[in-house]
């Protein structure tokens, strides 16, 4: 039987993990040492958090720009309300789409209610890829627009700011 972590240890572990996983060969033992616990307690707690959905995986955030994926576009579509779940689910599964959300229309200023993020190495390729995707799913007749980013002014903000590649996921 593995004893659960106490309240203080839980808070400490969360705080440690917000900074990332220690980059050592036995990271969970390192964490256990930092919070005064046994590594099995840490592993069990992290497995629980993962099951509860607090995090999906111990993974990484890519800097798309550093990898040459400099063409970053936001595809927006005006989808009839009755179809939005179907279209959203289809586009989310499509290759090249990294995020997909429904957001409110703000008429008369803004008619689009489905937002997808697309990353590619160059603009022409992203345009062609999106066109092919819309054709394939018979969506090309829906009002839509591809908004390329031309400059990035700010990467990150304060305490509640998620890391760059996660940010569109939550805004």
């Amino acid at each position: 039987m593995i004893a659960p972590l106490n309240h203080e240890q839980l808070l400490d572990l969360r705080q440690c993990l917000e900074r990332g996983l220690p980059r050592v060969s036995r990271p969970y033992e390192d964490l256990a040492e930092q919070i005064g616990a046994h590594h099995l307690q840490v592993l069990k707690q992290m497995q629980q958090w993962q099951e509860q959905g607090l995090f999906r995986r111990v993974g990484l955030v890519l800097n798309h720009r550093a990898l040459g994926y400099v063409a970053n576009a936001m595809l927006v579509l005006d989808v009839p309300d009755a179809l939005i779940d179907e279209v959203g689910q289809r586009l989310a599964r499509a290759p090249g789409i990294t995020l997909c959300y429904q957001r409110p229309r703000r008429l008369p200023h803004w008619r689009y209610n489905l937002f997808c993020m697309v990353h590619g190495r160059e603009r022409a390729a992203v345009q062609a890829q999106i066109q092919a995707l819309l054709d394939q799913h018979l969506l090309a007749d829906l009002p839509h627009h591809l908004l390329f980013s031309t400059r990035m002014f700010k990467q990150c903000g304060g305490r509640f700011a998620p890391p760059p590649s996660q940010v569109w996921a939550h805004g």
């Binding site: 890519l62 429904q102 200023h109 980013s149 990467q155 998620p162 569109w168 805004g171």
Partner: protein
């Protein structure tokens, strides 16, 4: 970046195992050693190819209120308004995009009240209408991004 770096990135996108010796497991898969992989990971972070290694928290479960917002900024005021926004700690991202709504940013606040207040504040200091586009529904994507 060489082939091993790429393999490592692709493997870690699927998650480091939650076991006592996770690097041994990954090293065995990639025919490498834990030390070699940790050195690679360290360099990829230092070079800025990766910006984080660790649990990918669902930040909404950690608390906080978020939205995507946009402004249609007159060209002559673009730099000035960008500077005004970037001073605000609640502005997490700010992109210029090719559209009449040309400034797109994410607001990350502690509470919904803070978020409303920040939106009102941006309207006041810029004199511009703010498009507030909070997420209503998430369609889950495969987060895997092969390199």
């Amino acid at each position: 970046m060489d082939e091993l770096d790429r393999q490592l990135i692709n493997r870690l996108q699927r998650g480091l195992p939650l076991v006592r010796h996770p690097w041994q497991a990954v090293a065995a898969e990639l025919r490498s050693t834990p030390d070699e992989l940790l050195d690679r990971l360290h360099l990829l972070l230092e070079d800025g190819v990766l910006t984080r290694f660790g649990p990918m928290f669902d930040i909404e479960r950690l608390g906080g209120a978020f939205t995507l917002a946009a402004l249609a900024v007159p060209e002559s005021r673009f730099e000035q308004v960008a500077a005004q926004l970037n001073e605000l700690p609640q502005v997490a991202h700010n992109y210029r995009r090719e559209h009449p709504w040309n400034m797109w940013f994410v607001l990350a606040c502690a509470t919904c009240a803070d978020l409303d207040q920040t939106l009102a504040h941006i309207h006041t200091i810029t004199g511009l209408e703010v498009l507030n586009l909070p997420k209503e529904q998430t369609y889950h994507v495969g987060l895997y991004f092969p390199v």
